[in-house]
Symmetry: C2
Subunit: 137 residues, 2 copies
DNA sequence: ATTCTAGTTTATAATTATTCTAAACTAGTA
DNA sequence: TACTAGTTTAGAATAATTATAAACTAGAAT
């Protein structure tokens, strides 16, 4: 449970002016027990559901991009046409169900790697993600 | 090195009528020593470079989709706007360099997993892919 | 408080990647 | 040689995202 002040600090700490729109979006994203996945479209719906004053779709896109750059959310790897985001920024993995186009989190400790390759020269590993694609049994 | 006959058989075996266009595209994709990554756009360029008779972009898309369904190519997980495909259909993994938006293959045996989670009920694992995102050192 | 300004939001247009449409074409069979 | 179902094609349509530029606002300066 994040208070408004915390949210404002979070925004300020990443050089994002705490506007009404950003605060509202941040609340929807971060003021929750559980992390979740979303797209620009789904976030737009959530944010604007029965709201007197709407936030424009352009702002949704701008804010998602800004939050992503600031590291408050992360983009998920998929092979779908839309961009998926995750409010869980801790390293973790995913099940992907191509039938339902649904991603589910896999807890970090559920996957253990024994061996990984060395990164190419001049590069280091930023992140490692395992995606397990599913199909009907 | 795949002969025209082999390519025609490959097409027939997956119920794809071996048309001029499909044969030409299949040659560009499969008649190579090394597997590689491509997009619809890049394939379109490759296929139509200094060609007297062009293959339409719609056919490129149709053929890529058909080859994917037939399992001759696979789609790669990314968080870019375009769809990336891989002519390497053996299980393997990827480095992803977000700066250059470049994917590189990691050989299957370079990654060893010690523990993976059980799939949800009614589902089995179709594929497991590890994506290692890179950044500058 | 009032003014100012850079940063932000907004509606809308533009762009990009992809899919759809339906007419023309063709591989393979009759 | 004719037929037909499958395929290709140009172009239109759609979907997701990004760009534009005018209006607005948070926060600093006065």
């Amino acid at each position: 449970m994040q208070q408004k002040k915390e949210i404002i600090n979070k925004l300020r700490s990443s050089n994002l002016r705490p506007t009404k729109q950003r605060i509202l979006i941040a609340k929807k994203l971060f003021d929750r027990k559980e992390t979740f996945h979303f797209t620009a479209e789904s976030l737009n719906k959530t944010v604007n559901k029965k709201m007197q004053k709407r936030i424009s779709l352009a702002t949704i896109y701008n804010t998602v991009e800004a939050f992503k750059k600031a590291g408050h959310i992360r983009e998920i790897l998929t092979n779908t046409s839309k961009s998926y985001y995750d409010t869980n920024i801790k390293s973790h993995h995913h099940f992907y169900d191509p039938d339902k186009k649904k991603l589910t989190d896999i807890d970090y400790q559920e996957v253990v790697l024994k061996k990984i390759p060395n990164p190419p020269k001049g590069k280091k590993i930023k992140d490692l993600e395992v995606v397990i694609s599913l199909q009907k049994k």
